[in-house]
């Protein structure tokens, strides 16, 4: 990489899952040709992207190894995959690397939005907000049956301890929670131990925490990381002695929590609440969780804020402009 062409080149860019107006203008101003269109899987597999120099996706377009191979032709094809967002589990980065295709994401752009939704989901769970609203709309005044618990004085376990989890930790700590985290990819020594306790054993998080929030990537290693056995370790008694039950939140990726195990735990009462922004199958189909009164969910909207989308569009645009200027994009993953 680090190639510097004598003249900036312009290219054909496919934007398959949308981008902001502002970003479109910036790219077009720089002379690029933008095609704003969602393609079917069959079109992707047949190599429709080989007509482009770069593609910008969100999470809806699956850039599998086969799709990437079909997108690269002898005459050219894509040299850049931009993920407008954070998670690249819909992109086969290994195949892209083999074929010399740069993959970029926008790692910090949605952090604040995801942090806020996580805190919102946590309190919505412990205070029964969606259920309370549902009963009000049904004409019931369910005050007597909607007793909640405080998050202050409880232990919050964070599975994965990157930027988002640390943001959640700082706010939860300011709300009086005790923070415990597990992340084998983070060096415990660099963490400020005044606010967080890092653990080497994920099971320990489940044993000592009554509130757990998921913040890792989806990978073969993390698929069904939250399973029946681990859920059964949760004790349901807060660090302050309150019988607060067990609460689980995920705004990370569907598939990390085994939804069948989570449903069973809700059903048995082992989980007092479950709040999900992400699901094993999206869009959600006939997921039994949706009928449980102690579940509530949102349709993968953790980064769906005006602010995050604006930052994402600006950041991916900067990456594209850097790439076409012959620079190595600052958020290149390969």
């Amino acid at each position: 990489m680090h190639i510097r062409l004598s003249d900036p080149i312009v290219g054909r860019i496919a934007v398959t899952d949308g981008i902001s107006e502002e970003a479109l203008l910036m790219l077009r101003d720089a002379g690029h040709e933008i095609e704003l269109k969602h393609f079917e899987t069959s079109e992707l597999n047949e190599g429709i992207l080989s007509n482009f120099d770069a593609v910008v996706v969100r999470s809806a377009t699956m850039m599998t190894g086969d799709v990437i191979r079909a997108s690269v032709s002898e005459e050219g094809g894509i040299k850049f995959i931009g993920r407008a967002g954070v998670g690249v589990d819909n992109i086969d980065v290994e195949v892209a690397t083999e074929l010399g295709v740069v993959v970029c994401n926008t790692p910090g752009s949605s952090t604040r939005s995801v942090v806020e939704l996580t805190i919102g989901h946590l309190i919505a769970s412990t205070r029964n907000i969606p259920r309370a609203d549902r009963t009000l709309r049904n004409g019931e005044w369910a005050k007597a049956t909607l007793k909640g618990t405080e998050i202050g004085g409880k232990r919050l376990g964070l599975i994965g301890f990157g930027k988002i989890a640390r943001g959640v930790a700082n706010i939860a700590s300011s709300m009086g929670m005790e923070i415990h985290a597990y992340d084998p990819y983070v060096d415990a020594d660099i963490i400020d131990s005044a606010v967080y306790t890092m653990h080497n054993d994920i099971d320990e998080i489940f044993r000592i925490c009554t509130h757990i929030s998921i913040h890792c990537n989806l990978s073969d290693e993390t698929r069904h990381l939250v399973n029946s056995r681990r859920l059964s370790l949760m004790g349901g008694i807060g660090a302050d002695g309150t019988e607060c039950g067990n609460h689980l939140v995920s705004c990370a990726r569907g598939g990390i929590i085994d939804e069948t195990a989570a449903f069973d735990a809700l059903h048995s009462g082992q989980l007092s609440s479950l709040a999900l922004d992400v699901f094993e199958t999206e869009p959600v189909d006939d997921c039994p969780l949706l009928h449980h009164e102690n579940f509530h969910g949102t349709p993968h909207i953790a980064a769906s804020t005006i602010e995050a989308q604006s930052r994402i569009s600006r950041e991916i645009t900067v990456q594209l402009l850097e790439f076409f200027e012959g620079e190595r994009p600052s958020s290149a993953l390969n």
Copy 2:
């Protein structure tokens, strides 16, 4: 007050809106006779409480001037009204004072619970959590129409700046909000101006803030304090330039917000969201707000947590024991 009897006396205590088992045990252990029963308004007006030495209420029992007068007889009657909770708008403190009846509440016991619910309602509003859950349960995947906004970078206006509002301010500030407050009963000089800006003009709060949370008492002065005119002052553009709309939350008391004005503002789009734990009429009857998709509510559950109820019961018990020991209860309001 400050009377010290030679021997502690025991008394008959009516508990009309419930109390914890733990508190009951403590009071009975001290020799008091407890009647745990909710009375009808007609019974209260006919003086049924004159058979007791003290009464402990929550918000459901209306201790009007007439009820208090009827509760005091020549032979005795109540000498103590304990409010298990914070707001005493259901107690005519003036009449109680005239008749020499001590009124106590438990001012700090539910602070943390109310603070947490306020933050929860704020994020549930800006991220459409109850609406999102409703669409999921209806089988819709409404990701595209549920774009929210961040609270970080916005101005939060707090009407009333007591303990609860300050708790909200500290957390909201840690989440990146800029805090503005109005409270004519708080000395601006004693407030840490690094975190909060105090204003002398309530209208200024509405002019500069996109997010407003109510934390004052209900009184003749505060009834319909939030009206059409003030709501129309809100600008809808965040301090960070985001078109975030206007958001209003109240976990204080019904009646401070003019619900008809709030409904009109939701209907016109002047308010993007409204979240209420308290209503002009409780239990809520056929309030039109309940049918608006940008409203969500909870049935007066801000203090309905295991922790707050336990603290409330313990604190009111301590006040009662102090009173019957001949001491001035530490939280006496008159």
